[in-house]
C-alpha cells in the first residue's frame, strides 16, 4: 500500500542525514510500530509519510503513485489521518463537531452524518453526555479517543500516530492500542505508530527500530 523508495532526510547538512536509503513497505490491514530513541528521526519519518513534509531524497509511493503526483494537501485530505501525542483537537468544539469538521474537510462519504459520528464516538467510550461538551472539559484519555475517532470517521486508508499513548495512563494506553488494532484489522487500514514504549510496540503486527540512520525490523 505505502512504499518508501531510497528515502532520505537531513536538516542542515546533507552529510549528516537522519536516515538515508530507506526502503520499507506498509500494507493495509496491518499495524506497524516504529521504535527509536529521541532524536533518531522517527517523528521526521512519520511527518514524511503523513505528507507534512517533503523528502530530501527518494520518494514515497501510495499504491504506485508518488506523493509528489498526488499532491501533499490532496494526500492529507483523502489518504492519511494523523493522531498526535497532544491530541490536537479543535479546542473550541465539542467531540461531535470535531468529527463533523474533519469529515467535511476530508470530504468523507459520511460527511455531515451526525448519527455515524455519534456511533463512532459511542464505540470509543465517549457517551452521549460527552459528545456535545467542549473537548477541553474531557480527560486526556477521552480526548485521545476523540482524536482516534476523528481518524476513523474519515475515509483515509492510512492512519499514522505520533506517540499516541505518551500522555496516557496504563489503562487508557491499552484501550487506545486496542482501538488502533481494530482499525487495522477490522477496517483494513494501515496503521503506523511511532512510539518509544516497547510495550506499545509489542502489540503491533510489525515493529521497526530506527537506529544509525537505518530501519531494522524486529523479530
Amino acid at each position: 500500500m505505502l512504499k518508501t523508495q531510497d528515502l532520505g532526510y537531513w536538516y542542515q547538512d546533507k552529510t549528516q542525514p537522519l536516515f538515508q536509503g530507506i526502503n520499507l513497505t506498509f500494507e493495509s490491514g496491518k499495524s506497524y510500530a516504529i521504535l527509536g530513541h529521541s532524536g533518531t528521526g522517527k517523528t521526521t519519518f512519520l511527518s514524511l509519510i503523513a505528507g507534512l513534509d517533503k523528502p530530501k531524497e527518494g520518494d514515497i509511493l501510495l499504491g504506485d503513485q508518488s506523493l509528489k503526483q498526488i499532491g501533499l494537501t490532496n494526500y492529507r485530505r483523502h489518504d492519511v489521518a494523523i493522531v498526535f501525542q497532544a491530541y490536537n483537537l479543535f479546542a473550541y468544539m465539542s467531540p461531535m463537531n470535531n468529527l463533523l469538521t474533519a469529515m467535511a474537510i476530508t470530504e468523507a462519504k459520511h460527511a455531515g452524518d451526525r448519527a455515524y459520528a455519534k456511533q463512532i464516538l459511542n464505540d470509543l467510550g465517549i457517551g452521549d453526555d460527552l459528545i456535545d461538551r467542549n473537548v477541553q472539559h474531557l480527560s486526556g484519555g477521552q480526548q485521545q479517543r476523540v482524536a482516534i475517532a476523528r481518524t476513523m470517521c474519515c475515509d483515509a486508508r492510512l492512519v499514522v500516530a505520533d506517540e499516541p499513548t505518551g500522555n496516557l495512563d496504563e489503562d487508557n494506553t491499552k484501550a487506545v492500542i486496542d482501538q488502533f488494532q481494530r482499525i487495522a484489522h477490522e477496517q483494513n487500514k494501515c496503521v503506523i505508530i511511532v512510539t518509544h514504549e516497547p510495550d506499545v510496540a509489542a502489540q503491533c503486527d510489525h515493529q521497526y527500530r530506527l537506529e544509525n540512520k537505518q530501519f531494522t525490523e524486529l523479530a
Partner: protein, 481 residues
C-alpha cells in the same frame, strides 16, 4: 463551506475575545463613521450655503467712469468758477431686464431711493442724528435735496437683505410686492406708526423735496419692525431708521421726477448658483455699456464654503487616519490571534484543508465581528459626529469676514437692496453678516453603506496582512514541536 461553521463556532465559543474585538472594531468604525458623517454634512452644508447664503450681483452706475469723466472735464475747463459736477447715469430697467434673462439669475430687485418731507405725520426724531439728510443706494442722491423721510423704492421687500436676513420684519399687513408697481402703497416702521397712530389701511401724505414739491398721498399696506442694528450704517447726517418707508420703486421714481421713469439707482440680481457668479458677471458685462458697472457679492457663500471646506478636509483626514490606524490595530490583533491559534491551523492543514479556506475562516470571523461593530458604530457614530462636528465648526468660523462691496463705486450702493447710507460720495464698507454654518449630522443608508465598505476594507486588509503567517506556516513544525 465548512469554514463558515468553524468561524461561527469559534466566535461563539470565545465570547470574551469576540466581545473585545467587537468593542475595538466599534471604536475604530465609530470614528470612521464620525468622519464620514462630518464630511457628508459639510458637503451638504456647502450645498445649502449655495441656496441660503447665496450671492448677488448689483447693476449700478459706474462711479469710476463718472469720476474720470468729471476730472477730464475739470482739467479742460478754462473757467475756475464753475465746479465740475459728478453726473451719474441711472440704471435703465431695460438693461436690467437683459441681464435678468441670463441663466444663472434667480430673480432681481430694483432699488430706487429718495426722500420726502413729512406732511400728515411727524417723523421720529433721534437724539444722535442731525436729522433730515440721507442718501440712497448707489449714491444717486448726490443731485437731489434731502427730506426727513427716507423712501426706499424696491421691487419687493422680501428681496432686500434687510428683510431676508430678518434685520427687519413685517409685523402687520404685508410687505411690498411686485404687484405694488405703479401704486402708492407703502410699508412704514412700527415706531413711526405708533407715534402717529397709523395702522394698515390708513393713508399719510408727504411733500416732494424738489421740483413742484407736490404732495403725495400714500396708503399703508404693512408695518415693519426694524432691529436696532439696522441703523448701524447711519451717519451723523442721516435720519432715524424709523423714518424709512418702503414703497414700490415706481413710487420712488415718481417722487424723484419724471426723468427717472424706467430707471433705478441699482438693480440687485440674486444668483442661483453662487459658484458661477464670476461667469455670470462676465456675461452680464457684455450686455451693458461702460456707464454701468456690475459688482458681485458672494462673501456669505465664500465664507461658509471656506469653513465647510476646512471641515470637509479635516473630516477626510479623520476618515483616512482612523481607517489606516484601524487597519494596523486590527491587523496586529489578528496577527496575535493567529499566533495563538497556530496549532488549530496546523491541525486544519494536517487534515488537508486549503490555506485559502483557513484565511477565509479568519476573514469570516472578523466579518461577523465587523457587522456587529457597524451596528454599534451606526448607533454611536451620530453622537461622536455631532460632538466632533460642532467643535470643528466653532473652530473654523471664529474668523469674522469683512468684505468690501464697493468695487469701482465710491459711495456706491449696497448690493441686495440694503438701505442707503451717508451723503454723496461716501465710501462705504460693509461688514457682511454671514450665517453660521450648521452641520446637520444624520446617519443615512448611504453613510452606513460607506461605513460597511470601510469596515470590509479594514477587515480584508488586516486579514491579508496577518495571513502571511498562515501561508508560511509549516504544520510539521507546529504539530510535532
Amino acid at each position: 463551506m465548512n469554514f463558515f461553521k468553524r468561524a461561527w463556532l469559534n466566535i461563539w465559543a470565545k465570547k470574551g475575545r469576540s466581545i473585545l474585538l467587537i468593542l475595538v472594531s466599534s471604536a475604530i468604525l465609530m470614528f470612521v463613521l464620525a468622519g464620514l458623517l462630518i464630511r457628508s454634512a459639510a458637503v451638504k452644508a456647502t450645498e445649502t450655503a449655495k441656496n441660503d447664503a447665496g450671492a448677488t450681483m448689483t447693476l449700478s452706475a459706474n462711479r469710476q467712469a463718472a469720476f474720470k469723466k468729471m476730472s477730464q472735464s475739470s482739467s479742460s475747463s478754462s473757467s475756475k468758477t464753475s465746479r465740475p459736477k459728478l453726473t451719474l447715469t441711472p440704471v435703465k430697467l431695460s438693461d436690467a431686464t437683459k441681464i435678468a434673462k441670463l441663466s444663472n439669475i434667480k430673480n432681481y430687485n430694483v432699488t430706487s431711493s429718495t426722500s420726502a418731507n413729512a406732511k400728515s405725520y411727524d417723523t421720529v426724531s433721534t437724539t444722535t442724528g442731525m436729522g433730515g439728510n440721507s442718501g440712497g443706494p448707489g449714491g444717486m442722491k448726490s443731485s437731489t435735496s434731502s427730506g426727513d423721510t427716507q423712501i426706499d423704492g424696491v421691487t419687493a421687500t422680501s428681496l432686500t437683505t434687510t428683510f431676508s436676513d430678518s434685520q427687519s420684519k413685517i409685523t402687520k399687513g404685508r410687505g411690498i410686492t411686485a404687484s405694488d408697481k405703479n401704486t402708492n402703497n407703502v410699508v412704514i416702521e412700527k415706531e413711526l406708526a405708533s407715534q402717529n397712530n397709523l395702522t394698515v389701511g390708513d393713508t399719510m401724505t408727504f411733500k416732494e423735496t424738489s421740483g413742484d414739491k407736490n404732495t403725495v398721498k400714500v396708503k399703508i399696506v404693512g408695518i415693519y419692525k426694524a432691529s436696532s442694528t439696522s441703523s448701524a450704517s447711519a451717519g451723523p447726517m442721516s435720519t432715524d431708521p424709523s423714518n424709512t418707508i418702503y414703497a414700490s420703486y415706481t413710487l420712488a421714481n415718481t417722487i424723484k421726477g419724471s426723468k427717472y421713469a424706467g430707471t433705478a439707482d441699482s438693480v440687485t440680481f440674486n444668483v442661483t448658483n453662487p459658484a458661477k457668479v464670476s461667469a455670470t458677471k462676465k456675461a452680464g458685462n457684455k450686455l451693458i455699456s461702460s456707464k454701468y458697472s456690475l459688482s458681485t457679492d458672494d462673501a456669505s457663500y465664500q465664507s461658509v464654503k471656506a469653513s465647510m471646506d476646512n471641515v470637509e478636509g479635516f473630516a477626510n483626514k479623520i476618515v483616512w487616519l482612523v481607517a489606516i490606524a484601524g487597519t494596523i490595530i486590527l491587523a496586529l490583533i489578528v496577527i496575535l490571534m493567529i499566533r495563538e491559534r497556530r496549532f488549530e491551523i496546523g491541525v486544519l492543514l494536517s487534515l488537508g484543508e486549503a490555506r485559502w479556506k483557513i484565511v477565509a475562516q479568519f476573514f469570516t470571523e472578523m466579518l461577523m465581528v465587523i457587522v456587529v461593530a457597524i451596528a454599534i458604530a451606526g448607533a454611536g457614530g451620530k453622537f461622536v459626529g455631532n460632538q466632533l462636528g460642532s467643535q470643528l465648526v466653532s473652530q473654523s468660523t471664529t474668523t469674522q469676514t469683512t468684505t468690501s462691496t464697493t468695487s469701482g463705486q465710491p459711495g456706491g450702493g449696497q448690493p441686495g437692496g440694503t438701505k442707503g447710507s451717508g451723503g454723496p460720495g461716501n465710501m462705504q464698507a460693509t461688514s457682511t453678516k454671514t450665517k453660521d454654518p450648521n452641520l446637520e449630522i444624520a446617519v443615512s443608508a448611504v453613510d452606513l453603506a460607506e461605513l460597511g465598505g470601510f469596515g470590509l476594507a479594514i477587515t480584508f486588509l488586516s486579514i491579508m496582512i496577518a495571513s502571511g503567517g498562515i501561508l508560511r506556516l509549516e504544520p510539521k513544525k507546529v504539530l510535532f514541536s
